[in-house]
């Protein structure tokens, strides 16, 4: 595998050792970073995280150390301080946090402990998406081992510092990956986002100061503390320090997760590491950061996978999930399927998102089935525009941005549907007949209505 030429940081050691076991994790230096951190001033630990330039891996890319520094110090607040780890991973195309939990659960736990110590928290919650049952079991077993060894709970490693970690399973709702919806859900409510401000750093879980970070972000903390922020900052490129566990999927020979330094190109990932496009097909489009990010075309193949380069190409690195799409796919069908997902997952709180995603689906459906009129593409773009930036949380944007990008980048293909009054692919598109959960529900409801 060419990918082994690159040094791994988050998944380090997992190829040669069963790091789900505490003894094996300790053999590769596990929990030494926690020991080291507990002997440091909190501010000194934070300084290493700031020096590392580690940016959040959940989607928004916010600098981790900076967010941690927004949390009031224990002496500045009478409330408990919470650390909440986002393991809700549901952005289509993304499956890296799952692999991190499966293969290096102790690195996640160690990162959680160090981060909690740094912000003066004694309570960690890990919110794991409900479907990840096996991963929950692996993390639970690792946590039990760590607890038995005195690494979690009262008087961690004899330091006098206490820290509990609670695993909380979700129950199937993409929106609960959004940080304030996650907090609502964790408080036992429907997962509907809150308005910000107040930001979670000041008023998060139970209206107390709360730091929220993604699984991969947290699992990167132990190696940073072990070897120093300056060491970590050497990897990657300026403004995009370190490695990422990229999730590669779609029409590619070797789909999977690959931990690579940021700044590597799409070409290297898709062709050299991913083995290229199978069945002798041609690459048509690339989704670079999960299904909510604007699409790139095959011409963008030499773009580097870092925050700035992907941004300059007109998209976002998001969750680091790259989806390769070959020339069999009808882009109108792709747009429809993506819009259906966001319609299904809209929590219903904000009107532009709740109604707008439905409008998007209706218009794209008309385009696909040949019932659209001239002008409907502009109508679709204007619906997208009326969602963008007009909701409490970015779920509406997550639908509007990619859909608008499909129309922008593949306008001729959309237009051909309207001009020809049908899908030019006939039934030959790789996405033909795909049945989404919203369609399945709608069909069942229609049939119930007929029977009644």
């Amino acid at each position: 595998m060419p990918s082994t030429e690159f040094e791994k940081i988050v998944l380090a050691g997992a190829d040669d050792h069963d790091l789900t076991r505490l003894s094996e994790y300790e053999r590769v230096g596990g929990y030494q970073s926690l020991r080291k951190a507990l002997g440091m001033e909190r501010q000194a630990v934070l300084d290493e995280l700031l020096a590392a330039g580690l940016r959040g891996r959940g989607g928004a890319g916010f600098p981790m150390g900076r967010k941690a520094s927004f949390v009031p110090k224990p002496e500045q607040t009478t409330k408990p301080i919470y650390l909440t780890i986002n393991a809700d991973e549901s952005e289509p195309g993304t499956f890296k946090d799952r692999e991190i939990m499966q293969r290096v659960p102790h690195r996640l736990i160690e990162g959680a402990l160090i981060t909690a110590y740094t912000i003066g928290s004694n309570h960690v919650f890990i919110y794991i998406r409900g479907e990840y049952l096996s991963e929950f079991e692996i993390v639970r077993a690792a946590l039990a081992e760590a607890r038995d060894r005195g690494l979690v709970g009262a008087n961690v490693l004899g330091s006098g510092w206490n820290c509990t970690i609670v695993l909380h399973r979700g129950a199937g709702a993409y929106i609960c990956g959004e940080e304030t919806a996650l907090l609502e859900s964790l408080e036992g409510k429907r997962g509907q986002p809150r308005s910000k401000p107040p930001f979670p750093a000041l008023q998060g879980l139970y209206a107390s100061p709360t730091l929220i970070n993604n699984v991969e972000t947290i699992a990167t903390v132990p190696p940073i503390i072990e070897k120093g922020g300056a060491w970590y900052a050497q990897f990657g490129v300026p403004n995009s320090a370190g490695t990422r566990v990229f999730s590669l999927s779609g029409n590619v020979a070797n789909g999977g997760n690959y931990e690579l330094p940021m700044g590597i190109s799409l070409r290297e990932l898709i062709y050299d590491i991913g083995g290229g496009i199978p069945d002798g097909r041609k690459l048509k489009a690339i989704i670079p950061g999960g299904s909510s990010t604007p699409v790139l075309t095959a011409d963008d193949i030499d773009t580097a996978l870092d925050f700035d380069a992907i941004g300059a190409a007109g998209s976002m690195l998001g969750s680091g999930a790259i989806i390769a799409i070959d020339d069999r796919a009808c882009m109108v069908q792709l747009a429809l399927r993506v819009a259906q997902f966001y319609q299904h997952e809209s929590c219903g709180k904000c009107t532009p998102c709740r109604e707008g995603t439905r409008w998007m689906v209706n218009i794209i459906e008309k385009v696909e089935t040949g019932h659209a009129q001239q002008g409907d593409l502009d109508l679709l773009l204007s619906v997208c525009d009326r969602i963008l930036g007009k909701c409490l949380c970015p779920l509406g944007d997550a639908a509007a941005m990619p859909v608008a990008s499909y129309v922008d980048r593949f306008r001729e293909e959309f237009q051909a549907h309207i001009d020809q009054g049908c899908c030019p692919f006939g039934d030959s598109s790789s996405l033909d007949r795909i049945l989404s959960p919203v369609q399945q529900h709608a069909r069942l409801l229609r049939e119930l209505a007929v029977i009644a």
Binding site: E187, R190, G255, I434, L435
Partner: protein, 157 residues
């Protein structure tokens, strides 16, 4: 008090505020009621957490993994999100439909299987991903459907 009541109390004790235990409690109640949440389940959860049944129902209805109608003994969920769709999820789904003689969203008349489509399960690089009784299978092809169904039919539940 019932076993469910006691289990819910144990879970609730982990949280600074007991209401946080609603989702875990609903999951326990669903397991105790054969995979779905009848009205009695909401009363039990409400009673254990000092909430109202209506509140518990409103929470449950938000989340995809809570079933508000009876389901089959086995649950087969086929991901039809884009990465799986690009590598043939639709053909895989249709193979399960014909193997079971039902369509997505339905339960077999003998109550053995519920088949449904599901949004991205987080296994996109190894599609088509199918979750069978909440355990993932990867690279599921249409020709695997009959074997998967047979395995589940004979699995201990």
């Amino acid at each position: 008090m019932t076993a469910l009541y006691d289990e819910i109390q144990q879970v609730a004790a982990q949280y600074p505020q007991r209401r946080s235990a609603v989702i875990p409690a609903l999951r326990l109640a669903q397991e105790a009621h054969g995979g779905w949440l009848p009205p009695a389940a909401f009363r039990e959860v409400a009673d254990a957490l000092e909430l109202t049944p209506a509140y518990c129902q409103s929470v449950a209805s938000f989340y995809d993994m809570f079933q508000l109608e009876p389901v089959g003994k086995h649950m087969i969920e086929v991901c039809t999100n884009i990465s799986c769709a690009l590598v043939g999820a639709q053909a895989t789904l249709e193979a399960f439909e014909s193997e079971l003689g039902i369509r997505a969203g339905e339960t077999t008349p003998d109550g053995e299987f519920t088949l449904r489509t599901i949004e991205c399960l987080g296994g996109c690089g190894w599609g088509t991903v199918v979750s069978c009784d909440h355990r993932y299978r990867h690279y599921v092809k249409p020709e695997d459907a009959s074997r998967v169904v047979e395995e589940l039919r004979h699995a201990e539940h």
